[in-house]
Symmetry: C2
Subunit: 385 residues, 2 copies
């Protein structure tokens, strides 16, 4: 059901030829209200695609009527023609839906530099067909239409007592070819105002999508949009909604990690007893971005030396000679020296658990990443636009 | 000739069984004077190997009598036993040479966590044999003894008018298994005082070794040592010596890049018209560390979108929509939009030239890196300790 699980939403996913396979490639998600509350977070890359530049303006007033998403082209670095394509996409949807173009978010994903006349015509055709196909059962089709190199759609639903949150995501980790990676739409029928939606979304993404780092490469097109219809009539305490929203985001983040291109291990890096949460995140990210560590995990090698060498590049508070490292439950390093032998660690399962105990304070953070594999290199070098 | 090319130096390289192949694995380089000036730069990783901890103290007074180097074990994260091994290595060499242990630099390279009793005994044996074998023709043997996964030794000599600089390096890029990567010894018979040696070495390494970034992974054991014997009796103007030293360092850095494990392209990233040199370095490094760009180059794909997505993660001064990108002489991106078609770019040669024109100021910097290949993944995952 994904984005149409909550009351008040319709969606569609149609095929207009942006994908050479003929699969669905344009999705439309519409909020039928009564509330039209929206919030979004965007890539922090300064190199932003046209849909990002447009949508950043759309969400400023906290009102979002609909989201149009396309795969098969990122519409990034395509000049003013590309920006006009995004603008026309929003206008076409607004016209058909009887709303203002300034309340229509646009998302694109695919190769950077793709956004010519043919692309524009297909996207506009997709809007037309998508709006015509809107239905309260359209969530699944929509989740299929945003896939690029994803091997499967990503959907999540959280059902509360009389209220629901639904979501869909695309992205093969953070590492899809062309860098157009993660698009997420989350819907809810909870009663929220714009400030509540914005705060809840920022809090949830900070500890979920922001801590998924499969290859350190930041996209030009990443966007997470939350829409609230209020159709349940229920207003929740802020932390109850925040917790549920975070669970949905974390579920989708785990699905993205699990489908990361070429990966053979899903690595959960838990940094504990840090001096601050920022320190824990910095330490976790330094490991997630260390190619030598990631290649070792691919080779089922519990190479804790590479972990210490990675974290030694950060400014976080810890003593390199007072750090413990655990891999899949086995303490391989105690106080910066060897502990259990490597043979004790079984790294054959896909799920890999790394714990780094900084022994400084009580803060913690979890970063999700993947290993560095032959298939990663293959899929990101042999890709043809 | 390498380190024995300048007057006043002797060296040796011997085999004591640290390498399972039976190849040479301990090198000794001795300065016979009359000056005993030394300077060194070290990895900035906070996770420092025992030889780094020792050698940082040795060079503080600007006096270095000798350098002992071993391959076959990094002696990193081996506890106080490992530090004592380094200490005993310096003491044994000092005793045999009739100098103070506090003037003997020690360097180790190999797997992190390696440094047990067997390792210590072999290294001490190597010191004994190495000192006995010292000769003014020993530079080549020494350069062989420091190799690990290097496919060939790295040596450089600069001959001036009555003076000489010689050097040797080991390292398969920055990316050797176990993270024990780059060791360099440079010798000269120029007359230098300690402050001059230190200043010249820092200036030269800043624009050579510091700008070699094959995989973003910083070693625990990196060290570059400069020794000056003054045996030529010649004192050069500071810039003349600095220029020659920089040329030697750059030559060795290029050899390291060219022998980077698994690489199929040597990529020279030239960032021009930046607002500052720091900005140019930051932009170049963001590209050098972007796995998607590096995989694209492996696939001979001139994917300039990945270049813009990489530099967009920096704080450097530029407008993403006013940047030009050239690959192997072809302008593929003008003002943040597509220019020449990808078919115009021939990426089949190993030498790859990327120019990023930020169009902001007049500063520039060059970063050397390599592509991300199947062989890189293989060599860094299948490595067995």
């Amino acid at each position: 059901m994904s984005v149409t699980a909550p009351a008040g939403f319709e969606a569609a996913g149609v095929a207009v030829g942006l994908k050479s396979t003929g699969a669905r490639d344009v999705a439309v998600v519409v909020n039928r209200g009564p509330l039209k509350v929206g919030a979004a977070v965007f890539t922090s890359n300064r190199a932003k695609a046209n849909p990002i530049l447009w949508s950043e303006q759309v969400v400023k007033d906290g009102v979002v009527e609909a989201v149009v998403l396309n795969s098969g082209g990122a519409n990034c670095f395509t000049g003013s023609f590309g920006f006009q394509t995004t603008h026309q996409t929003a206008e076409r949807a607004a016209e058909l839906l009887g709303v203002g173009a300034g309340d229509v978010v646009v998302c694109s994903t695919g190769l950077i530099g793709t956004g010519d006349e043919v692309f524009r015509a297909k996207v506009l055709d997709g809007v037309q067909q998508g709006v015509a196909a809107l239905s309260a059962a359209g969530g699944e089709d929509a989740s299929l239409a945003i896939m690029t190199t994803d091997s499967k759609p990503k959907r999540a639903v959280h059902v509360g007592d009389g209220w629901t949150i639904g979501g869909m995501a695309k992205g093969a980790g953070m590492l899809a070819p062309g860098l157009a990676t993660m698009l997420v739409v989350i819907t809810t029928d909870v009663v929220l105002d714009a400030a509540e939606a914005d705060a809840a979304l920022r809090a949830a993404t900070r500890v979920s999508f922001d801590r998924l780092d499969s290859d350190g490469c930041m996209s030009t097109n990443d966007q997470v949009t939350l829409m609230a219809s209020g159709a349940s009539g229920i207003h929740l305490p802020a932390d109850e909604f925040a917790a549920a929203l975070t669970a949905v985001c974390d579920d989708l983040a785990a699905q993205l990690q699990g489908d990361a291109e070429g990966a053979s291990h899903d690595i959960t890096i838990r940094v504990v007893n840090a001096g601050s949460e920022d320190d824990a995140v910095a330490v976790g990210r330094s490991i997630a971005r260390n190619n030598l560590f990631k290649a070792a995990i691919f080779g089922n090698d519990p190479n804790w030396g590479r972990v210490l060498a990675a974290i030694g590049t950060t400014d976080a508070a810890f003593d390199p000679y007072d750090v413990d490292v655990w891999m899949n439950g086995v303490r391989v390093c105690t106080a910066g020296g060897p502990d259990r032998p490597r043979e004790d660690v079984d790294l054959t399962p896909r799920a890999t658990d790394l714990v780094v105990d900084l022994r400084v304070g009580s803060a913690a953070a979890t970063i999700r990443t993947n290993d560095l594999t032959h298939d990663y290199v293959h899929e990101n070098s042999a890709y043809s636009s």
